[in-house]
């Protein structure tokens, strides 16, 4: 459904993505793992239309994706960005409602709102709080909830478990599975490689801007090189 081919992205002199190619099929959870600075966020931003790329193609359902974030969203691709990016001066509720900016179906929006509050009861409690003063974890929940409100076909999640308490990390991954059940496709970027691989169908390993490995999540998780580099000497 989403197809990236030979993508090259530069930041000034820095060559951040060097010929990245990947595929995502409908209904899949695909995860990208890689160390800090590997280019994961860069890849998501390129798909979302934030970055001009020199070379390569990004196609969605056989159509070339425009380099314009709002058009990409319109086509049903929604990113939940790294670092939350909530509207710091708006209330929690306003934030969530903005997620539904492009939607017109009032009743369905209401329904989805209830669903979001169900997933994140903390947000319901803080409905009227100014989003900028939420704790780090609360902001992350808000960003996810807001993303869900746009009712996308593909969700691009950039490190959704970042800064979340262990209990919530579990919840977030459960939610991701729930979201998939809602007939959505998910591209998940994660540092928490264990968890990500445990719920994903397929995985890519991104290193220094290049895809180093790809395959089924299980295959990647079992790969000794990956285990050493990304899963680390995990205690327990």
């Amino acid at each position: 459904m989403l197809k990236v081919q030979d993508l090259n992205v530069f930041y000034g002199g820095i060559h951040a993505l060097k010929g990245v190619s990947l595929d995502i099929n409908k209904g899949e959870i695909v995860t990208i793992i890689g160390s800090n600075g590997a280019g994961k966020s860069t890849l998501l931003n390129a798909i979302s239309g934030f970055l001009k790329y020199k070379q390569g193609v990004i196609e969605y359902k056989g159509e070339k994706l425009p380099i314009s974030p709002n058009k990409v969203v319109k086509m049903g691709i929604c990113q939940v960005p790294e670092g939350r990016l909530v509207f710091a001066n708006l209330t929690v509720e306003d934030n969530i409602m903005l997620g539904a900016y492009l939607r017109k179906d009032k009743n369905k929006i209401k329904e989805d709102l209830e669903k979001v509050y169900e997933l994140f009861p903390r947000l319901k409690e803080r409905e009227k709080q100014i989003a900028g003063t939420l704790s780090g974890g609360e902001q992350q929940m808000l960003a996810m909830g807001r993303g869900l409100m746009s009712d996308p076909e593909i969700m691009l999640l950039d490190e959704p478990s970042l800064g979340l308490a262990p209990l919530l990390v579990q919840t977030v991954f459960d939610i991701i599975i729930d979201i998939r059940k809602m007939d959505k496709t998910i591209l998940l970027v994660e540092q928490n490689a264990y968890k990500a691989l445990s719920i994903a169908d397929r995985a890519y390993v991104l290193e220094q801007g290049r895809i180093k490995m790809e395959g089924s999540a299980k295959y990647i998780a079992d790969n000794p090189a990956v285990r050493e580099a990304y899963l680390g000497a995990k205690v327990q």
Binding site: A88, N89, G99, Y101, S150
Partner: protein, 293 residues
Amino acid sequence: MSQFFLQQLINGLSIGSVYALMAVGYSLVYSIMNFSNFAHGGVIMLGAYFGYYYLTKLGLPFFAAFIAAALTTCVLAVVIERGAYKPLRERRAPFLYFIISAMGASIFLENIVIATIGPTFKSYPEILSRTPIQLGSVTLGRLDLAMFIISAICLALLVFFIDFTKMGKAIQATSYSVKASALMGINTDLVIIVVFALGGFFAGIAGVLFGMKYTVYPQIGIITNKSFIAAVFGGLGSLPGAVVGSILLGIIETMTSGYLSSNYRDLIAFVLLIAILVFRPRGLMGKVTEDKA
């Protein structure tokens, strides 16, 4: 209440409403772009000139000229945005650069008028009778009343637009975070154009009204400094703040002239401004949010 006080109050309100029309354009742009658009004064000045020429040279009827002038400045403001700010935006330059670019634009606009049209004053033909309405011994200019009403209507429309339309919501969101708004499917580039167009529209209206009431000359921009101060007074980026700040500044100025000293009117107004900022660092209605560490 004494007649004198009442007269000064009316004077203050009418001066304040001129400031308000100008300040709203500032605040609007500030709220999205987070910088003070000093070119606004230049656009207002051109609005006054356009209105004048549409009326006298093209012989348009008043309302047609009025709207045409506002539409022209609309386009002009957008052109300035494209030329002087967009490249900076794409580079994510800090706000200082925007301000300097805006100053450059303002110097440019003022002087291009001097160089082409010339420095002489132009007077609008008399559209509303200059004989004022008498309320006891207090007088109320017809033009002032008209201005007050037009300002009020425009501002009400603007508030409606911002609060109740989808584009309005997009403007609000974009003012908080451009990237996040884009992720919500908002066409942020369009939002910025709309904001400048709106700012330009208001500049045009302000310019024509200003020109009708006073005269048209290349240095009209100077007076917009006052409206800038008023916008800060009320809290930058807040539309109600801009209006309240303007009206208050107008009244403070007139009352200072009336009861204290016209020599030190601006001084007192400034001292008051600084005092307000010391106690309310974000103006009267600007939002105070603690920086979260």
